[in-house]
């Protein structure tokens, strides 16, 4: 039986390992080394996207300020006004989406509101209205819904405003879309 075999293996005295020979310069250069420690953790955090994996089913509202990749299923609204949402080939979203940019390879059933761009890629399936500055739909994608183009607004940099302007006008949001209250979404 495996148990007894294992027991016997453990009982066997360890064979002494020969001391490793010192590496030559050429061998040292051939060893692959990770660059991971050289990167700052903050940089990694901002450059990477959150991932909802294939087997994940999420019900409820999703909101945040980082890019999101969905390979699983989300049943609920998604609100990422500053970020990019990518729906992978196996991803499925049932709910409305608000994001800076939306890229769809999978399936979406709901309305989309993207300040910059909505890209529906080949073989994606989308049913819902879209409101964006740049609608892009590839051949062989299925899309059913309204398309309304809006002018992409560029956020005004606070440094460009004079003190007088700042005093006269109320504080403007730095993003074109003000985050709505929970459950509220803009419909196209």
């Amino acid at each position: 039986m495996a148990y007894w075999n294992k027991k016997r293996d453990e009982d066997m005295p360890l064979r002494p390992e020969p001391a490793p020979a010192p590496l030559t310069n050429a061998q040292r250069e051939a060893i692959p080394t990770s660059t991971y420690p050289a990167r700052r953790p903050e940089e990694l955090m901002t450059r990477s996207a959150a991932l909802i994996g294939k087997s994940i089913v999420l019900t409820g509202k999703v909101s945040g300020r980082e890019d999101l990749i969905v390979d699983g299923r989300i049943e609920g609204d998604i609100d990422l006004p500053e970020s990019c949402l990518t729906v992978g080939a196996g991803g499925h979203i049932q709910g409305s989406i608000r994001a800076r940019e939306v890229i769809i390879y999978g399936a979406v059933h709901g309305n989309m509101d993207a300040v910059e761009k909505v890209q529906i890629r080949r073989n994606a399936r989308v049913i819902g209205d879209m409101r964006t500055a740049r609608p892009v739909i590839e051949e062989d994608a299925y899309f059913k819904g309204n398309i309304e183009t809006v002018r992409a607004e560029t956020p005004k940099a606070p440094a460009q405003r004079t003190q007088a302007q700042a005093a006269e006008a109320p504080q403007q949001p730095t993003l074109p879309n003000v985050t709505p209250s929970a459950g509220e979404t803009r419909r196209g």
Partner: protein, 211 residues
């Protein structure tokens, strides 16, 4: 599959236009009716085509996109499609599913060649529903192939190149095609106000219909 141009150009395409593009008098008449108008509601039932989206939304109009053939394939089972025998209420349910619009909301409708690839009861129900959806005096553009040799044909992907030029590609799978002639087209749209045929040297009939 590579897009296959079916027709030689009927007119001289504008500079920079693909050489397999063809002049479309129906499109030209449709676009001229849109001039100086903004915020029209255009319904395109030929499926999503990037050039058409750019052309229509770039002119300041709102666009609805769907492919009637894809909706038909999705709604009806392969058995129903093969037998062309639709049970009680199925046609009405399909119309409610695919064309759930209020009356008089559409300013322009592009059906392209889709009616020719649908069974007659479905095509007739679509035509009647679209008539209700169209605003008074609104226009509907359709295409009918007159080369009826062979049972199956490949529907066109119709691409608007400019205000008077269309590019017709065959990118979809073959489907059974219904035969139409001017008399049957007139009969199909008998409840509409005006039916205009645009004569073409090629085996394609452009028909612009006013509600």
């Amino acid at each position: 599959m590579n897009p296959t141009p079916l027709h030689a150009p009927a007119g001289q395409p504008a500079a920079g236009v693909a050489p397999d593009a063809r002049k479309s008098h129906g499109l030209q008449a449709l676009v001229s009716s849109m001039e100086a108008k903004q915020n029209l509601y255009v319904l395109d039932f030929g499926g999503p085509v990037q050039d058409n989206i750019n052309f229509i939304t770039g002119a300041g109009h709102k666009l609805y996109v769907d492919d009637l053939l894809a909706s038909y394939d999705y709604f009806f089972s392969p058995k129903e499609q093969a037998e062309r025998n639709f049970g009680s209420g199925r046609v009405e349910a399909f119309i409610e599913s695919a064309l759930s619009f209020e009356d008089h909301v559409a300013d322009l409708v592009l059906i392209w060649d889709r009616l020719q690839y649908l069974p007659p009861p479905i095509a007739e129900a679509i035509v009647e529903r679209v008539r209700r959806m169209l605003a008074p005096d609104a226009l509907l553009l359709t295409l009918f192939r007159t080369d009826t040799s062979g049972a199956d044909h490949v529907p066109y992907t119709c691409r608007i190149v400019d205000s008077q030029t269309l590019l017709l590609n065959e990118r979809m799978r073959q489907r059974p095609m219904e035969t139409f002639n001017p008399r049957t087209i007139h009969k199909l749209f008998q409840s509409y106000g005006e039916v205009r045929f645009f004569v073409s040297r090629e085996s394609l009939q452009e028909v612009l219909i006013r509600r």
